[in-house]
């Protein structure tokens, strides 16, 4: 009799105190995420369905948008620029990555370092540099054969420069995970080199290429800095939002443009997620790593090619460096530090530089703690599957939201006088929140990957040993994951330093940032000073990167002694 009763009632596990604490903590971080991304997006979406008086008007704003040729034109422009830019970046990045992973080209270390330089600079820097190269008084103006640099050519060139390392990193990863045995098999079957390339190499990194393509497309499509500086009268979506909101105070239309901007980004994001899932399934753990063999013709062709690419990158940042030290281009080429005297002009000053440092430090500190802890709770929590899945899903959203859309959404949400959180508007706080949110997903995924690599039975053992979760988190998880946490904080720092898209809508007179000062100075025609400020950002990022390389090595030696055999 009793057996029957037992059989009919599903056993529900009681939650331990730790389970409850972990859930509460996770819900708190989840609540932060909801406030920082879901609610603002919602208010932006509803704003795009309202008229100026705030009444619901359905899709009529969208009708206006698509029937205004000038506005619709910029959607087309954005698309065109992104397609061309993506194609160029993928071609160059693939060859560059191939040289780094599949040949015995000399000086690889040098080419690796040069390739990450664009990551250290705000995207506007390439625009400024292009003005000096090809602008009305540019040194190489004749190269363009009469075409103006201000417009599509400038945007494509500038975009190619700054998205190059993003594409390169993805393709390098894709090319590194091939199985050497496939090549041995192809050689044994006497397959020609060219056929092997199309039969083995391309298919094995196909998903990486697709993924890189979507990432690059989204980056160019949603970028604000480059078109702002070098776009001239050639309108794209990102600059349109800015004009609608800041120029014309037309918030509804700004919201519509932001939603239009969001659409391809979401499509790209979903396809990329799908593709990445497939790629994982293709990887076998028993793959033999590929070791390139000497091939003089290939190695030296690649050396010439990579040198050329590296030369272009150095030209780009080199020109910005040079311009920042010149008295008055092109008439007085004597060196000066006068351009670093930022306090001479309106809208920036050294204060903005220190604000940027402050923002970056807060973002890196708070961001890496919150994001890593959140990822830990999701990954290592017990039960409450629904909550954990929801958290993980929300954490994915920021990747699909362009900075311009995020910034605008923040205006709608936080600047609403009825919002109890209204007080953060115009403070450093909202800049920190928006920056953490903007770069949440990649950091969350880094943390999740590191946590997944830990033995899942650590938690089982800890439970059997009655270790409270905060204790095992502090004594086991944190020490093991220090490298990943450092990665996250540097990633957040560099991005906080260089970002402009979300914060452009959110800064106040007291919280101007260096990257925004670059734009403002450029607007006022103070190009040399803009270059100088952009270089300040680059120096800082470079220094942090260097410090990280040295510091993390010594920190890892000190704290990760247990990794040695």
């Amino acid at each position: 009799m009793t057996l029957n009763i037992e059989n009919t009632s599903v056993v529900k596990q009681k939650s331990s105190r730790d389970d409850k604490t972990m859930r509460v903590c996770m819900c708190l971080i989840g609540l932060f995420l909801a406030v920082a991304i879901v609610l603002p997006l919602y208010s932006m979406l509803s704003k795009s369905l309202e008229n100026k008086a705030g009444d619901f008007v359905g899709l009529s704003n969208y009708q206006d948008y698509f029937s205004t040729p000038a506005l619709f034109q910029s959607a087309f422009n954005s698309f065109l620029i992104s397609v061309i830019g993506t194609f160029i970046v993928l071609t160059i990045a693939f060859a560059y990555a191939y040289a780094l992973t599949r040949t015995k080209m000399p000086f690889k270390w040098f080419f690796k370092i040069v390739a990450i330089v664009p990551l250290l600079t705000p995207s506007m820097l390439s625009g400024i540099s292009l003005v000096y190269w090809f602008g009305n008084q540019g040194v190489a103006k004749s190269f363009l054969m009469g075409e103006p640099i201000f417009g599509p050519i400038g945007i494509v060139l500038g975009s190619v420069y700054w998205v190059f390392p993003h594409a390169l990193m993805i393709i390098i990863t894709a090319l590194s995970i091939t199985d050497a045995r496939l090549y041995e098999a192809a050689t044994a079957l006497r397959t020609s080199k060219l056929k092997t390339f199309f039969m083995v190499t391309i298919p094995s990194c196909k998903f990486g290429l697709i993924s890189a393509g979507f990432v690059v497309f989204t980056l160019i499509f949603t970028d604000f800095g480059v078109p702002k500086v070098i776009g001239g009268s050639y309108n794209v979506l990102a600059t349109d939002i800015y004009k609608q909101v800041i120029g014309q105070q037309n918030f509804q239309m700004g919201a519509v443009v932001a939603v239009v901007l969001l659409t391809p980004a979401i499509i790209a994001f979903s396809v990329d997620r799908f593709v990445q899932r497939k790629q994982v399934a293709l990887l076998s753990s028993s793959a033999v790593p590929f070791a390139p063999k000497n091939n003089n013709a290939l190695d030296y062709t690649m050396l010439v090619f990579c040198s050329f690419v590296a030369f272009l990158i150095i030209c780009m940042i080199g020109m910005a460096q040079y311009a920042s030290l010149i008295t008055f281009w092109p008439y007085n080429l004597s060196f000066t530090l006068e351009n670093f005297n930022f306090d001479l002009v309106e809208g920036g000053g050294w204060g903005s530089y220190f604000n940027s440092i402050k923002l970056s430090v807060y973002t890196a500190l708070i961001g890496s703690i919150v994001i890593f802890f959140g990822a830990y709770l999701v990954e290592k929590g017990r039960g409450f599957q629904f909550g954990r899945n929801t958290f993980h899903a929300i954490a994915m959203v920021p990747l699909a939201v362009p900075g311009m859309a995020l910034g605008l959404a923040y205006i709608f949400f936080f600047n609403n006088p009825n919002n109890p959180l209204n007080f953060v508007y115009g403070t450093m706080g909202i800049l920190v929140i928006s920056t953490i949110t903007h770069f949440y997903t990649v950091s969350h995924l880094t943390a999740t990957t590191a946590l997944k690599q830990m033995d899942p039975e650590f938690e089982s053992v800890s439970a059997s040993l009655k270790t409270p979760f905060f204790r095992s988190f502090q004594k086991i998880t944190l020490p093991i994951c220090i490298p990943a946490i450092l990665d996250i904080s540097v990633y957040l720092f560099l991005n906080a330093m260089t970002t402009v898209s979300a914060v452009i809508f959110l800064y106040s007179a007291n919280t101007r940032l260096a990257s925004i000062a670059v734009l403002n100075m450029d607007d006022q025609g103070e190009l040399a000073m803009a270059a100088a400020m952009a270089m300040m950002i680059a120096y800082t990022c470079g220094a942090v990167r260097l410090l990280y390389a040295i510091g993390s090595k010594s920190l890892i030696i000190r704290t990760q002694k247990w990794r040695d055999k």
């Binding site: 529900k12 331990s16 059997s464 270790t467 004594k475 093991i480 990760q560 002694k561 247990w562 040695d564």
Partner: protein
């Protein structure tokens, strides 16, 4: 009878575990006696690990109850249950020294530091790793790491020790050595122990009782001797050790017909005319002093000989049964005595008491 109930330490009743539509455990009931060493044995996917994890509370059962030491623990989270656990992957905390790994549990109980030190020394002494206490896990061999895991699991003197395939990641030599050590330690510390394994040799040598599982149900519970010599089901006979299965039909109360040959054996009361399997283990096939008048004599031909060190496994073709093959283990002396080689013809007998019908 009452005595036995008092000794029952772990009582599993009506345990069912569903993963979506898949049922991993079907209405499992099981008693484990205090201080007993029990092995869950079965092929992968039989549910043995699922059962262990349900007992630990790591993956809670869908239905059913578990009580430990008279206390109902069915719905308790793992941190409120009383067990130590050892995994195939060792799961040692890589950033803590050996001594620290062992002392974690004691620190959580708020033990005094002197007591902790003594206990850690005692345990590391027991597993023979006293001099390694300041090393990190990655500096130890697999076998040593598993010993540390064992010491860690036993540090807080839990009432129940759970071992999840603890030896499967180790190489053969270390494995057989550690087998004895674990068994020895278990006896010394007198702790009720459950070990999950797919290795029958491990189960047969270590367990006081074996629980053979397949497809989410218990096939048989018994001592190693019972499991090996009187398997209750065909699955057990097949999974534990090697067995010949001969398709047969029951012809009378104590006779079955295999092909054209009639064999004398117990038929376990199965109805006459039913198709069954007659089984006999290779080592029970007898070739010494067989004469025509004996019971269950077969004419066979040697098809192949496989040398296995202390004995030969011989593949025999059955003349009378045409299609079937009989495996037999013959000692070297029999091979020499009968001068057996491929193609030799001989007579073997299948002793009635060793034939089982399924």
């Amino acid at each position: 009878m009452s005595n036995k109930i008092d000794q029952t330490y772990l009582k599993v009743r009506g345990l069912t575990k569903n993963f979506g539509k898949f049922t991993a455990l079907k209405d499992i009931s099981l008693d484990i006696i205090e201080n007993e060493f029990v092995c869950f044995l079965g092929p992968s996917g039989c549910g043995k690990t699922t059962l262990l994890r349900a007992i630990a509370g790591l993956d809670i059962q869908t239905y059913g109850t578990i009580s430990q030491g008279g206390k109902d623990i069915s719905s308790l989270p793992p941190s409120e249950r009383d067990f130590g656990i050892v995994f195939q992957s060792y799961a040692l905390f890589p950033n803590l020294t050996i001594a620290k790994n062992v002392s974690v549990g004691l620190e959580n109980l708020g033990a005094k530091s002197l007591h902790i030190k003594n206990r850690v020394d005692e345990l590391l002494g027991l597993v023979g790793l006293m001099d390694q206490s300041d090393k990190f896990p990655s500096q130890l061999s697999g076998g040593q790491q598993q010993r540390v895991a064992l010491a860690r699991a036993m540090a807080t003197s839990p009432g129940l020790l759970l071992l999840d395939e603890p030896l499967s990641a180790l190489d053969a030599k270390v494995r057989s050595h550690l087998r004895h050590e674990i068994k020895e330690l278990q006896r010394k510390l007198a702790v009720t122990t459950i070990m999950v394994t797919h290795d029958q040799e491990e189960a047969l040598t270590m367990a006081d009782r074996i629980v053979v599982m397949d497809n989410g149900v218990i096939e048989q519970v018994g001592t190693p001797e019972e499991i090996y010599s009187s398997p209750k089901t065909k699955f057990v006979a097949d999974f534990v050790g090697t067995t010949n299965f001969l398709p047969s039909i029951i012809t009378s109360k104590d006779r079955v017909k295999v092909g054209d040959v009639v064999l004398a054996c117990r038929t376990e009361g199965l109805p006459i005319g039913s198709s069954t399997m007659a089984s006999i283990r290779p080592e029970d096939v007898n070739a010494r002093n067989v004469s025509d008048g004996d019971q269950n004599v077969l004419q066979v031909e040697v098809l192949s000989l496989e040398f296995l060190g202390s004995f030969y496994r011989v593949k025999l073709g059955l003349f009378d049964l045409k299609t079937d093959i009989l495996l037999a283990d013959f000692s070297k002396s029999i091979i020499r005595l009968l001068d057996l080689e491929v193609g030799s013809k001989l007579k073997v007998s299948l002793p009635q008491q060793f034939i089982k019908i399924y």
